[in-house]
């Protein structure tokens, strides 16, 4: 009897280097015929933050805790949805508008689980993974303030 592959590899990386989305999807789906859906979310450095021009962003993180916190939520995602693979790559360092910051890939048999898990992971990355953005603009340099809308987005996943 051949059993279906049900493994759900979870890959988490924090790195300065850029990522290649096509390559990461290829790695996630290599030798798998059980995956019917891959959702990819990329977060990109914007040139505009609430109307103000952004020249660059610097991402700082808490080494060790950042990986562990993302892992906790990736593991929770695998218990909440039938996933066949999760990849989260978060870059740190200094970024110019247009450059990649974060990548979330979720793979599943069907699209709903992959879409929902990707949203869940991004909502928690925003509010509970220890990363901080510092913004450079024409008027100076300052730390980005957390948005209440991000807390609200994460709160909707709380089980009642």
């Amino acid at each position: 009897m051949t059993s279906a592959v049900t493994a759900c590899p979870v890959t988490i990386r924090i790195q300065e280097d850029d990522f290649d989305i096509a390559r990461e999807i290829a790695v996630l789906t290599r030798s798998r015929t059980d995956i019917g859906a891959v959702v990819s979310f990329s977060g990109i450095c914007r040139a505009d933050e609430d109307g103000a021009k952004v020249a660059a962003l610097t991402l700082e993180h808490y080494p060790g805790m950042a990986e562990e916190e993302i892992k906790r939520h990736a593991d929770e995602a695998t218990t909440r949805w039938p996933l066949n693979g999760v990849t989260v790559i978060h870059r740190v360092g200094r970024f110019m508008p247009g450059q990649n910051i974060v990548l979330v890939l979720t793979a599943s048999q069907h699209r709903q689980a992959a879409f929902q898990a990707a949203e869940f992971l991004m909502d928690y990355l925003k509010t509970s993974a220890p990363f901080w953005k510092k913004e450079e603009s024409a008027t100076g340099t300052g730390w980005v303030e957390a948005h209440a809308r991000d807390d609200e987005a994460a709160a909707r996943w709380t089980k009642s």
């Binding site: 700082e60 993180h61 808490y62 220890p130 730390w143």
Partner: protein, 83 residues
């Protein structure tokens, strides 16, 4: 215990980490913040709005009433803005 600071908390304190020995009367995260605030102007500035400060003990988020007994590493930082 080892204490780490991140983002503007780190900038205001003026260091990324240090080893501290608070008195035994300091039992919670909240009490540790209050004690640190009394360690000089830089600390007073960093912790001037204690409700804004987030804390983690041994890499896990904790509330301000969490006990610090047995903690190896406590971190203080502003609300997170990654992703």
């Amino acid at each position: 215990m080892k204490v780490k600071y991140f983002a503007w908390v780190r900038e205001r304190v003026g260091k990324a980490e240090e080893t501290i020995e608070p008195p035994a009367t300091v039992r919670t995260v909240e009490e540790l913040i209050a004690w640190l605030s009394g360690q000089g102007d830089a600390y007073a500035h960093a912790f001037e709005k204690p409700k804004v400060i987030r804390a983690a003990i041994d890499h896990a988020h904790v509330r301000s009433d969490a006990a610090i007994a047995g903690a190896r590493e406590i971190a203080f930082f502003p609300p997170m803005t990654g992703g």
